[in-house]
Symmetry: C2
Subunit: 197 residues, 2 copies
C-alpha cells in the first residue's frame, strides 16, 4: 500500500484551534480501559489510531456493544452533557487518542458561536452518514447492499474492510461484485478495485 500524503494530525477542523492545555494525548494498549460506566466524564475523544469499543451493561449484566470507534472518529460527544459516562470504553487494539477537555469545550461553545456552529455541522454530517449506513444495512440482498455501498463510495480500502463495514463476509462481497459486473452495473477497474458503471 502506498502511503499517500503526510498523515499528520487529522483532528477535525473544528478542533484545530483548541489550545494545547485543553487537549491530552493518550496511548492505550489492547485491552486497556479508557473509561468506565458511571465514571466522572472528562472529555470527548478523537481516535488517532486503533479501535475503541463502547459497551453498555444491561440490567442482567450482559455487555452490549454500543459503538466501535475507529481511526479518524470522534466519540463521547454526548458525555459533554452528562456528569458520568454511561458506558465502558475499551481499546480492542493498541490505540492513540486525543482527549478534549469537557469544560473547555462547554465554555468555548458558550463564547464562540462559530465554534458551536462548526460542531453542529460536524454532528449533522455524522448523522447523515449514519442514516445512510443504516439504510444500507437494512438491505437484505448482498448484491444490492454492496451496490448501495459502492454508490456511497464506501470502497476506499480493501474489499475485506468494506465487507466488515457492511457486515457481510468477504466471500459474499466478492460474489456480489462478480454478479454486479456481469449485470453491467459495476465495472472492475483493477484487482480489488470496482466502481459504479
Amino acid at each position: 500500500m502506498i502511503s499517500i500524503i503526510s498523515e499528520k494530525n487529522m483532528l477535525p477542523d473544528l478542533f484545530q484551534a483548541t489550545p494545547t492545555n485543553a487537549m491530552r494525548h493518550l496511548s492505550l494498549e489492547k485491552g486497556q480501559h479508557l473509561f468506565h460506566q458511571d465514571q466522572k466524564t472528562g472529555g470527548l475523544f478523537y481516535v488517532e489510531e486503533g479501535y475503541i469499543e463502547l459497551r453498555r451493561a444491561t440490567q442482567t449484566g450482559e455487555l452490549l456493544l454500543v459503538h466501535n470507534a475507529v481511526k479518524g472518529e470522534t466519540f463521547a460527544e454526548a458525555s459533554l452533557f452528562s456528569d458520568f459516562y454511561h458506558c465502558d470504553a475499551v481499546a480492542t487494539g493498541d490505540s492513540t487518542l486525543i482527549e478534549i477537555d469537557r469544560k473547555h469545550v462547554l465554555e468555548h461553545l458558550q463564547n464562540d458561536p462559530n465554534f458551536a456552529i462548526a460542531m453542529i455541522k460536524h454532528l449533522a454530517r455524522q448523522n447523515q452518514v449514519y442514516r445512510s449506513k443504516l439504510e444500507i444495512m437494512a438491505i437484505k440482498s448482498a448484491p444490492e447492499r454492496v451496490f448501495s455501498a459502492l454508490s456511497d463510495d464506501m470502497l476506499k480500502g480493501d474489499v475485506i474492510a468494506l465487507a466488515a463495514e457492511i457486515s457481510l463476509t468477504h466471500e459474499a462481497v466478492y460474489r456480489s461484485l462478480r454478479k454486479l459486473v456481469k449485470q453491467g452495473r459495476v465495472v472492475q477497474t483493477g484487482r480489488g478495485k470496482y466502481s459504479i458503471k
Copy 2:
C-alpha cells in the same frame, strides 16, 4: 392501546421557543415531493405524522434510499450548511410536517449559545442512537439481534414494527422471542409484550 397523555405538538424542546413566523405547517399526500435534489434549501423539518423518504440519485440515475424519516424525527439538519438540497424528499404516506426556517435557525445559532448547545445535545443524542442501531444491525443471529434490540428498549409498539426496525421478518422475530424466552433471557409479559429477564 390506551392513548396516554395529550399527544400535542411533540416538537423537540430546542424548537419550542421558535417564533411562529419562522415555522410553517405543511401537509403532503402520499407521493408528493417535499423538495428535490439541487433545489434551494428552505429549512429543516420535523415530522408530525407520516413518512418522508430521502433519496439520492446515483451517477447512473438509480435512486438510493438515504433515509426514511418517521413521526417525531427532525431531518435535513445538514441542509442548514448547504445552499441546495442534496437529495429528494418524498412523502410515502400522507404526512404533516413543520418546516423551520433556515435563516432563522442560523441567526438564532449565532445569537443564542444556549440554543446552539441545545442543538448540539440533540444531534449528539441522535448520533448515539444511530451508532447503537448500527451495532445492532451488525449482529447476524436473529435471536441475538432481537435480544440487543430489547435491551435497547426498541420494543415500544408492535412486534411487527420492531421487526421492520431491525430488518427482520416478523416471523423471525417471533421465533427469536420464543427461543429467548425458552432460554430464560426474556420474559413474556403479555400478548406481544416482552421484556429483558
